[in-house]
């Protein structure tokens, strides 16, 4: 698969299907794994890092499930191309920086992505649309089993999978659920909810993972503890928290609809109006307005809005995607023009 092929299809996690997909955008499980003997990426010299990368790529290539996948070596890759992979949530921002001896392995459906030599030798993830951690776990668990037959993982019976950072030791698992919580934000309850989550050892991040801000009412919730509980227990704990947040968001939506219907309809329709007619628009404004339109579609206030088309716009209006679609580098000003044009063409059908 070539990078440009990504533009032709929708990632699995963006399909807008799956359980609770009115509130849950996607579910992701990642596992951190390392090779035994070889130093972890941050501590390895050039030769060791190269050896680790080649060992991982070689081992993974023998796994049946990943036969059709593509290996991207990141060194020397164009900055826009790297950003495209970040925007599609296939790799972290960190992985796009200092790219020597780093690689990314992606399967053709964009369900599985393996970062090679990020913080750990392997960071593998599976993403699913909607609230579906169990399905993501069942896929990644099988892949991990297969890879563990090909590579020698760093592992101790007492402490589980050994990772560069002790915060990931044990199962090496992080389950993350991306939520769209406009009603909790608008009713000013979100801070209370997020504070409660952090007390229970869960973290909240923005759209693009570690170190990013929550924008457009999107929040990513994940577990922090990775040792002492089995993978299934950890996933069940996240599910329990997410179910509660979904309930709270649904209640807040009901309250808003029953008490402030006119104001809400006004805001949603104005948002759609701006998106349909703007000539210059920033990516932040786009995300915020799309969030409102999505809410309108979820509440049935806007008819004939396809959720999948909306989800696609969240990604295709990002800077690297715009530049790949136009097939040239664009300045911020040019991007704001092209972005408005793209949105108009997709929403005025």
């Amino acid at each position: 698969m070539q990078l440009n092929d990504f533009l032709k299809h929708t990632s699995e996690w963006l399909k807008g299907t799956g359980p609770n997909s009115d509130i849950v955008i996607s579910s992701r499980i990642r596992l951190a794994r390392n090779l035994d003997k070889l130093p972890f990426p941050h501590w390895a010299n050039n030769k060791q890092a190269l050896q680790a990368m080649n060992t991982v790529i070689d081992g993974v290539s023998r796994v049946n499930y990943l036969k059709g996948s593509t290996v991207f070596k990141l060194a020397g890759m164009d900055a826009v191309d790297k950003q495209l992979l970040v925007e599609r949530h296939l790799m972290s921002l960190e992985h796009a920086q200092k790219t020597e001896n780093k690689a990314l392995i992606v399967d053709s459906e964009e369900i599985v992505a393996i970062m090679v030599n990020e913080e750990d030798h392997l960071r593998m993830q599976v993403m699913q649309s909607g609230f579906n951690l169990h399905e993501a776990w069942s896929i990644i668990n099988g892949i991990d089993d297969s890879i563990s037959k090909e590579l020698n993982y760093a592992y101790l019976p007492d402490w589980g999978y050994l990772t560069a950072c002790p915060t990931n030791t044990g199962t090496g698992i992080r389950g993350s659920v991306m939520l769209h919580l406009p009603a909790l934000v608008m009713t000013r309850q979100i801070d209370r909810v997020l504070a409660a989550i952090s007390k229970l050892s869960f973290t909240t991040r923005g759209l693009y993972g570690e170190g990013t801000q929550a924008t457009g009412n999107f929040f990513q919730i994940s577990n922090q503890v990775s040792l002492g509980h089995s993978e299934e227990e950890i996933i069940e704990n996240i599910n329990g928290i997410i179910r509660q947040i979904i309930d709270q968001e649904n209640q807040a939506r009901e309250v808003m609809v029953s008490r402030n219907r006119a104001i809400l309809e006004d805001r949603i329709n104005r948002s759609l109006g701006i998106l349909k007619s703007a000539r210059i628009i920033s990516s932040q404004e786009t995300t915020e307005l799309l969030s409102m339109v999505r809410l309108g579609a979820d509440l049935g206030m806007l008819k004939d809005i396809d959720r999948r088309r909306l989800n696609e716009l969240f990604i295709t209006t990002q800077p690297a995607h715009l530049q790949k679609l136009e097939n040239k580098k664009l300045s911020t000003e040019d991007r704001d023009l092209k972005r408005a044009e793209l949105i108009r063409s997709r929403l005025n059908l």
Binding site: P39, N152, C165, S230
Partner: protein, 169 residues
């Protein structure tokens, strides 16, 4: 000057960021600066934790932690405290006694009860049995089933005393 992030308020805070050897200047309003610094503080969570560990008496009194070095990758415990990352899988064996309280503090546990690599499990069924027993032991202790716990503990000891079962490879 207008804030680079929100593009609305006047910029009163001026930051220099160096990412990937590229220097960039950021001019922010107070509100955006506060948000940005909150995000940065979150990233420093682990070093705070490690700094807190240094104050732990049992660790601080032990001078060995300054000189002990991983024979496989050359990382010292002092390196680990500075960068917050281990050097290789072997480090976990070398620094075991210092890492155990740290793992306990981070995760509230020092006993893995999740899955194991298929290759490793094939090598030692005994090891898998011990792991299974340990997981049951922890559950028994949590549910205050002490008789069951004592029985499991004896079983684990018995298995561990069989040669080679507890070798950390």
């Amino acid at each position: 000057m207008i804030c680079n992030l929100c593009g609305k308020n006047p910029a009163t805070v001026h930051l220099t960021e160096i990412i990937d050897e590229q220097m960039s200047e950021l001019h922010l309003c107070e509100e955006c600066a506060r948000k940005k610094s909150a995000a940065m503080e979150q990233q420093f969570g682990l070093s705070d934790l490690l700094a807190g560990m240094a104050k732990d008496e049992t660790v601080a009194k032990d001078e060995e932690n300054v000189t002990v070095k991983c024979p496989n990758c050359g990382l010292t415990y002092a390196d680990f405290k500075k960068i917050g990352r281990l050097g290789c899988g072997e480090c976990y064996n070398v620094f075991k006694k210092y890492l155990a309280p740290l793992l306990k503090r981070i995760h509230g546990s020092t006993q893995h009860t999740g899955k194991a690599p298929l290759k490793g499990a094939k090598i030692s069924k005994k090891r898998a049995d011990i792991q299974d027993l340990r997981a049951r032991l922890q559950k028994a202790v949590e549910s205050e089933a002490y008789e069951e716990a004592a029985r499991l503990r004896d079983q684990i000891k018995q298995l561990e005393n069989k040669k080679g079962a507890n070798a950390a490879e």
